[in-house]
């Protein structure tokens, strides 16, 4: 089975702070890390390969430094990697990113399964999976929490829904997104780390993947950010004073407004 795992580089922290002097917004992105949800997709792909044979390829669109994270995936059992990197990819929203990734996948010469993390922790959109599947014209299922059976033709898996869960059978090729804690991502061993440092990795730009310049990066992104701002923190809570009985009485009045 040939499995492609899509990963994203994200800042290690979502913390935002205001510069004490200038009041500008500063992001605390000390380290760049693999999107935590994607680490579960990597582990799942490697486990499927270990049980059913085949190959795992990690794919990312990102700045050149993303190579390091792809090599990290290779240290954990991924066989080879492809990085799509080009200044013209910058500013991509999910639609342009999904298009670009789909072109990268077409370069890989066929696949059986694409795995993605449920969402990225910096954007929280959870849109790349379904949009990528649409670009490739294959079925997708989001929020997979368990793989029940895998054959060369299809996969039976469990999807978490708002109401509980569904057991679904999907024909391959397909794209699946996995939730956190579907498995225990492994840590690389010393030989794993050393493999990652020299493992096969291709870097491709927009020309290499025959991208339509109108559909990539900023130009290919229908959405634009007009403004970002820090949400106002609620200033101060109303204090409910008094003895227990009067506090409870006041709380009960508040509750009654809601029931």
């Amino acid at each position: 089975m040939k499995i492609v795992v899509c990963i994203k580089q994200v800042p290690s922290s979502n913390e935002v702070r205001l510069d004490p002097v200038t009041n500008t917004i500063l992001r605390d992105g000390r380290q760049s890390v693999t999107n935590p949800f994607d680490t579960y997709a990597i582990e799942q792909a490697v486990q499927i390969k270990e049980q059913h044979g085949g190959e795992v390829i990690a794919l990312s669109m990102g700045i050149p430094a993303t190579e390091k994270l792809l090599r990290d995936a290779e240290s954990r059992g991924v066989d080879r990697a492809m990085l799509l990197s080009d200044r013209n990819f910058a500013g991509a929203d999910t639609l342009a990113t999904a298009y670009t990734l789909s072109l990268g996948i077409k370069q890989l010469g066929g696949f059986d399964l694409i795995l993605c993390g449920k969402m990225a922790v910096d954007g929280d959109t959870a849109q790349i999976g379904p949009e990528l599947a649409e670009n490739l014209g294959i079925p997708h299922i989001t929020d997979i929490c368990e793989f029940i059976s895998i054959t060369p033709k299809d996969i039976v898996c469990k999807k978490i829904t708002d109401k509980g869960y569904q057991v679904l059978r999907v024909k391959l090729p397909a794209l699946l997104t996995v939730v956190k804690n579907i498995n225990m991502p492994r840590l690389p061993s010393i030989p794993g780390v050393l493999f990652g440092l020299s493992a096969p990795l291709e870097i491709k730009n927009a020309v290499d993947i025959n991208a339509d310049s109108k559909l990539i990066g900023l130009s290919g992104s229908p959405t634009q950010v007009v403004k970002t701002y820090m949400p106002e923190r609620q200033s101060k809570a109303n204090s409910i004073e008094g003895d227990i009985a009067s506090q409870a009485a006041r709380i009960s009045q508040l509750i009654k407004e809601f029931i």
Binding site: S13, Q31, L187, S189, I190, V193, L194
Partner: protein, 529 residues
């Protein structure tokens, strides 16, 4: 005048009668001062009355130093402001803080560079601006429990895994403010006041002078947190660090920050045979430079962890260790570039092979999230043991964990490991051993299954204290002496030196009320000798 800061003990404050040593004391009153002025106010009120005073921080200590022995509890956890920042001409950064600041809080603020500077002086604010521009820094002492307060860490001279490389808390403390029992204050800055041989002359900010004769013992040349720190011509500040709340009350601490290494990698190495792991440690110590941490877990500890992982949901996300593994060594590499780190792990791999292990049996953590997983693993071991003991305690309340904290010089590592295992086996006791093997400092935890086991274990513990002393080691290497290890201090130094320590204490605390029961075995009614 009734002092409103002092509150009578009630059920609400039950928590404050105990600490992580899981012993429970008793007290009549409690206070939560918020400032040095409050501390002075309280002391002036109760010290003259002859009431024993136990000082508390985060109550995370393992030697019962914060467990009250009657009298008053002064809990400093609400003195938790960070008050100033300083940058010296070398570009080093220093943070002044109140003793109740929790380690986790300090770390988080340093990491995110978020400080409430509204009450700071202009100089501090300027230093903070410099700090924001500077490369990242950290405070290196790292006791496993991060809810420990800095005051508590100073009082017991806490260490942690990284002390192998960076040294204990002591090394990172540059100034202290101390309130003495009569309400006078000392302001001591490292490098400004030294003893003359074994005579130390101090003067309070109010102008009184105190002449102290320092005890005459020689401290062991190992990692040590047993009794007062004493050396010829010592820096005055070192007397108060590790003094277990017996000399005065620390109200302000200045800590020194270190530049954060560019690369921090963790490597867990697993071995099928414990002796291979020991040989590995000996070789790593000799051959590798940028190693900041060397920790050990024996097969029993790994087994307990496997059980808890299976039973307890909170631990289900722990990485699984293969059944055949009987020992683990955790190494942390701190260096300035990845090339050095890669070279170091390659070297670790080859030393593993030479020691009888296999480099495949490793987990390498190269980012924070992976390293946190390894730290979670490390933290889960003592927690698992505590849970196991809590279950057993239900059978017989006398059962508690007996955990040692002893260190020996390098050359005795193989011997001491053999001794622990063979004596435990002889007595048929269950145990789990882990700890800071880089400093030959292991926590041997005896896990009694019955009252008989417990009594046997206590005996064995004393026997080890005698043996460790003979080898030139320390009976408490990092937890402090507190109340639980006071008797071992007598084993280590002998009664004469204990008497010297008592007269040192008397120079600061003539009524022997501060930290009553810490370091000195309590005779009767708060009197020590």
């Amino acid at each position: 005048m009734k002092n409103s800061l002092i509150r009578p003990m009630s059920n609400e404050f039950f928590e404050y009668l105990r600490d992580e040593s899981r012993t429970i004391g008793n007290a009549e009153s409690i206070s939560f001062p918020k400032s040095e002025a409050d501390v002075i106010d309280i002391l002036r009120d109760i010290y003259p009355k002859g009431i024993p005073i136990t000082i508390q921080g985060g109550r995370t200590g393992l030697a019962a130093g914060a467990v009250p022995n009657g009298g008053h509890i002064m809990n400093l956890s609400r003195m938790n402001s960070i008050t100033a920042m300083r940058c010296d001409e070398k570009g080093d950064f220093f943070i002044a803080l109140q003793p109740g600041v929790a380690l986790s809080q300090l770390r988080k603020q340093i990491e995110s560079r978020k400080f409430d500077t509204s009450q700071w002086s202009e100089e501090s604010k300027e230093a903070f601006l410099e700090f924001c521009k500077a490369p990242e820094h950290f405070f290196s002492p790292d006791p496993t429990e991060t809810s420990a307060t800095i005051g508590g860490m100073v009082s017991c001279n806490a260490s942690g895994a990284r002390s192998y490389y960076y040294g204990p808390t002591r090394k990172h403390i540059t100034a202290l403010r101390i309130v003495l029992c009569d309400g006078q204050t000392l302001a001591i800055r490292r490098g400004e006041l030294f003893a003359d041989g074994r005579i130390l002359n101090l003067s309070t900010e109010q102008g009184a002078s105190i002449k102290v004769e320092l005890p005459t013992y020689k401290m062991p040349k190992t990692k040590n947190a047993s009794g007062y720190y004493i050396e010829d011509n010592m820096d005055a500040i070192d007397l108060f660090i590790g003094s277990d709340g017996t000399l005065g009350i620390i109200t302000e601490i200045e800590v020194k920050l270190l530049p954060l290494p560019q690369v921090i990698w963790g490597v867990s190495c697993f071995f099928e045979r414990e002796r291979d792991a020991i040989e590995f440690v000996v070789a790593v110590r000799k051959q590798l430079k940028c190693v900041a941490v060397i920790e050990f877990f024996d097969g029993d500890a790994l087994t307990i962890l496997r059980c808890q992982k299976a039973q307890n949901k909170a631990f289900s996300q722990l990485p699984a260790v293969e059944e055949r593994m009987n020992a683990a060594i955790y190494i942390e590499i701190h260096c300035e570039d990845e090339k050095t780190a890669v070279e170091t792990i390659m070297k670790i791999g080859s030393i593993m092979k030479e020691s009888g292990g296999c480099e495949e049996n490793t987990w390498v953590a190269r980012n924070d999230s992976d390293r946190n997983q390894l730290l979670f693993f490390r933290h889960a071991i003592p927690e698992s043991v505590n849970m196991l003991i809590d279950q057993r305690k239900k059978l017989d309340p006398i059962i508690t964990k007996l955990g040692t904290d002893m260190s020996v010089p390098d050359k005795h590592l193989r011997y001491i490991m053999n001794m622990y295992h063979s004596t435990l086996q002889e007595m048929g006791l269950q145990s789990a051993i882990w700890g800071h093997i880089g400093d030959n400092h292991l926590h041997v935890n005896i896990l009694p299954r019955s009252k008989e086991d417990y009594n046997l274990g206590k005996k064995l513990y004393e026997q080890w204290a005698i043996e460790v002393t003979k080898l030139g080691g320390a009976v408490s290497a990092e937890h402090g002496t507190g109340k639980l290890k006071a008797n071992f201090l007598t084993v280590m130094y002998g009664q004469n030196h204990i008497d010297e320590m008592a007269s040192l204490k008397a120079a600061f605390d003539p009524k022997t009320l501060l930290g009553a029961g810490n370091m000195f075995i309590l005779r009767k009614e708060g009197e020590c000798k």
